[in-house]
């Protein structure tokens, strides 16, 4: 690694995003220190995925800043999408492709390590697009992990999965956090947020309404919007 300085904390200041005359994000600011799982929650259209995408540099904000503590040559944050993008290749080739694109040294070994770490060795030569939903999501996480990020963005990592696969994914996330990976994830599954995260960012209509410890947020939300959301009165 050329540069060992941590990219964290991540400082997001006054994010604003407009499209087609609509303001989708408005003045979102937060800071993300190293470690832990942070859940971004809120009703549909609150701007959860958009926030992740802007942080991951997939989308440019209309205003505001995304500032990293360090900016090493190689991007040290990775993202897993709600619908995992599976290249039309084998499982192992999907890993190798990402590693080669990233310029990771010794991609073959790293790919093997990732397969082993996520229990995918038996599936190595299978066409990735023929895997089950849970296996695809696992491969997507393995592929992101292989890139050695400090921070992983997970966008609704289990929204397409059955309960069994969801449990598996949650275990994986807990394991990653235990190893020191910082995780920023969106979820519309409040139970999942409660189970996994230590901190909650509650967005509504493009604004960051609450930024709180998970236990406190669920026990005593400070805003009326959060209370309505938890009571199921906000559409989502």
């Amino acid at each position: 690694m050329r540069d060992n300085a941590s990219i964290l904390p991540l400082d997001v200041e006054g994010l604003r995003f407009e499209a087609g005359g609509k303001t989708l994000l408005d003045g979102v600011s937060f800071s993300l220190p190293k470690g832990g799982v942070t859940a971004v929650i809120g009703p549909n259209g609150a701007g959860k995925s958009l926030t992740l995408r802007i942080c991951h540099k997939l989308i440019m904000p209309s205003a505001g800043r995304v500032r990293w503590a360090a900016e090493p040559g190689r991007k040290r944050h990775a993202m897993v999408f709600q619908r995992p993008v599976m290249l039309r290749r084998s499982v192992i080739a999907n890993l190798r492709h990402a590693l080669v694109a990233y310029g990771t040294p010794d991609p073959a070994t790293r790919a093997q390590t990732a397969l082993a770490r996520f229990g995918l060795l038996a599936l190595a030569e299978r066409p990735a697009r023929l895997l089950s939903g849970g296996e695809q999501q696992r491969l997507a996480i393995a592929r992101a992990w292989a890139l050695e990020p400090e921070l992983m963005f997970l966008d609704e990592p289990s929204s397409q999965l059955d309960p069994g696969a969801t449990r598996q994914i949650e275990e994986i996330i807990r394991g990653l956090a235990a190893e020191g990976m910082t995780i920023l994830m969106t979820t519309h599954d409040l139970g999942q947020a409660r189970r996994l995260s230590q901190r909650v960012l509650f967005l509504n209509k493009g604004r960051l309404v609450e930024d709180a410890e998970t236990t406190r947020f669920f026990a005593e939300p400070s805003s009326s919007e959060a209370r309505a959301f938890l009571a199921g009165d906000l559409l989502w």
Binding site: H56, L87, R88, A101, P127, A128, R129
Partner: protein, 233 residues
Amino acid sequence: MDVTSAFGAALSLIFNLDPQFLQIVGLSLRVTLTAVLLAALIGLPLGALLAVTRFPGRSVIIVLVNGLMGLPPVVAGLIVFLLLSRSGPLGSLGWLFTPTAMVIAQTLLVLPIIIALTRGTIEDLWSEYREHLTSLGLTGWRAVPTLLWDGRFALATGLLAGFGRASAEVGAVLIVGGNIAAYTRTMTTSIALETSKGDLPLALGLGLVLITLTVAINAAAYGASRIGARFAG
């Protein structure tokens, strides 16, 4: 009419392995396959680039390329003819009335098809892969190799379409090749010549051989891409 004698002529052409006939078939295949290969080398990356980049004038180019898919072969032939004629800008190359001229003309005919079909295929694939590839830092031309590789089975269809157009056309190769016996005479120009000589059974016989070859090549490519596609999922 002479359909039976046409079949007879076709069969005797094939089974007697008439050297002149083999030479004609060989030249036709060589010219067309070279043209398709060249057009693929040029058209696949350009079509993919058109799919993944945005720049002013892009839609003009797309409309132009789509329109050129219908370029009449004689017009393509005429353009190449005027370029390569001794009195034209590239006359000193001495390429007119050679197989090379035919390759250029057919490349010109096939290129728009390959670019347009590649753009369509890759655009679909790009909308699916875009966020993942962007996340990996693969944008613009850097995304092209991944997309071409993953779209290879769909892209084969475009190449086949190009092959079909090139192998079937007569106007362009006739103009720039000159239909010189044993040198630039292809299956299609032979068919035109035999028709004009009134030897309709021989012309139809050659036509049957051409159809058979085209179908065989298509079938082989189709089979291969089906097997491949099943693997890639």
